[in-house]
Amino acid sequence: MSTQETRKTTPKAPGIRQTMSDVHTWTGLLVGWILFAMFLTGTVSFFRDELSQWMRPEVRTTTLVDAATAANRVGDTLQRIAPDSPAWYITFPDARANTAQVTWRGTKGFESGAFDPATGQRLEARETRGAEFFYIFHFQLHYLPVIWGRIIAGICAMFMLIAIVTGVIVHKKIFVDFFTFRWGKGQRSWLDAHNVLSVFGLPFHLMITYTGLITLMALYVPWGIQAQYPTQADRARFNSEFSAFLNPTKPAGEAAPLLPLATFVQAAEQHWKDGQAGRLQVINAGDKTARVVVVRRDSQRISNSPSYQIFDGVTGEVLKTVDGARPAAETRGVLYGLHIGRFADDTLRWLYFLCSLGGTAMVGTGLVMWTVKRRTKLPDPTRPHIGFRLVERLNIASIAGLSIAMAGMLWLNRLLPVGLAQRAEWEINGFFIIWGVTLLHAIARPAKRAWLEQLWAGVALLALLPVFNLIATSRGLINSVRDGDWVFAGVDLMLLALAALLAEIARRTAKHQPRAKPAKRNAVAQPKISTGEPRTNG
């Protein structure tokens, strides 16, 4: 029965591994380009705080003060600039973020800014979304309604999960394959590289994909919540179990002084014993109904299940204490925490970064392999069919082009006039304009030329940015190293390392000649065509 179904000409039904191999190939290919972008921007997001600092070079690392002091200083400023605001939100600085991030509800929506934790003053810095853009983009894309972006990301993540599991079924000899890397064998080496990247990082890829789905599961499968919590109020109650967010209430209109914010931070930290405050929220400051929420720092625990205290802002009385959650909620908290990796120390963060970069390369090698594999089977390799050409060009723009666009955005961060209206938006628009240009370029040029030109353009953009910083700013690599500023030095060094990586890929791509067809299917000698896969083999 199934003989006719899938392979009309094959005498026997395809085996399970062949079927799973097809599923693996197509789930990977169809959403591979978005997945590659999600993986790469997500990878950089593990250093989001550091990259965001680098994107605000005016803000010098200030003296780090404890959360209680920062709360008081920033609180004093907020009393002055936003006394009637119904809600203030303060995120305290830590080892990775040198400023206090403050948001408050103003007369025209939310306002936010970076504050000096030692003086409490608002810091003047160029307008930028920082690395926050890469982080948000990796699960919600851009220029789309937020919900749609997230749904598309979820569909892609689900395809990824299927691709991973079917990949494991296909490669039942997974460990044998792992030790048989065949260098310099064209398609074989691509497959081997793909296998090594996948097997080596398998636990990470599986974890990061599954937990990624968990972070937005209430959007993807809301039916259980709707069944058990039918009304809007019910759902608010359900959501409040996972969040320390307190909705502003109507003020009483009766003035009452707010206790110094340090009081609450100290009280909460005393309660946690070894825990520190990470965030603070104030509702109705200066009113009798003032409430203060102190949230525990998430870098100290894996789970991001809620851990917070709510205080009466006027009397200082503890109104509510939440420490952790029930078992399933705690499980969700741990899975969520594993995905965002806020708990990771420096060593673990680098491991996260490298595994994630490996995952990006896994998706990339998979995409390229689709064309490598099919090129040898093309009836006329000089004139591939439209589908092949589409995949080929999209590969170029999504793999090499994205690197150019991301590096380009960092250049715009340095080059756009500081006074430009909507500067932060233009950094992002610029990112997409550059990415679009790489797609046009990939369509216009022969494939191999396009690969090489884009890879080298990426190398130039990445490698010259630290040089530009050295010449045009006071925060170049030499100064940073001398001052022991490892955030700035680190980002510059990372740009150079990524430039070297791209240069190596470009060098191998240039040397790459498509293999002749296997001898038994020969007859036609492989014509000299520009193929254009960057190669991993030497």
Binding site: M1, S2, Q4, E5, T6, K8, A13, I16, T19, M20, D22, V23, M158, L161, I162, V165, T166, I169, Y210, L213, I214, M217, A218, V221, W223, G224, I225, A227, Q228, Y229, F238, E241, R326, P327, A328, A329, T331, R332, L335
Partner: protein, 97 residues
């Protein structure tokens, strides 16, 4: 080969793709809701249902393509869905605590 005959030849594959994407999601959603019948705090059951639904989805897709025919793929989904649907049906008019 004419367009219509090539469509007929591809029908089982198309059927499987629909079964995988929509049937799989339906089964995962049913499982998510059915699991809310678990004893204990309702929010716990809801979370367990949501967290496991992705596993159900993955297994469903693999079953759909591993089955010997498109008919069997659909049958497998429906046979699994039936008891889940029954549980969900009993939940439709829940007695709220």
């Amino acid at each position: 080969m004419s367009l219509s005959s090539s469509l007929i030849a591809r029908a089982p594959l198309v059927s499987r793709i629909i079964a995988a994407i929509f049937g799989g999601y339906g089964l995962a959603s049913l499982a998510a809701v059915a699991l809310t019948a678990l004893p204990g705090h309702p929010s716990e059951a809801v979370l367990i249902g949501m967290m496991l639904s992705f596993v159900v989805y993955t297994c469903a897709v693999i079953w759909v393509f591993a089955a010997r025919s498109a008919w069997r793929a659909w049958a497998g989904l429906l046979i699994t869905a039936a008891p889940l649907a029954l549980i969900v049906w009993t939940l439709v008019t829940p007695v709220k605590p």
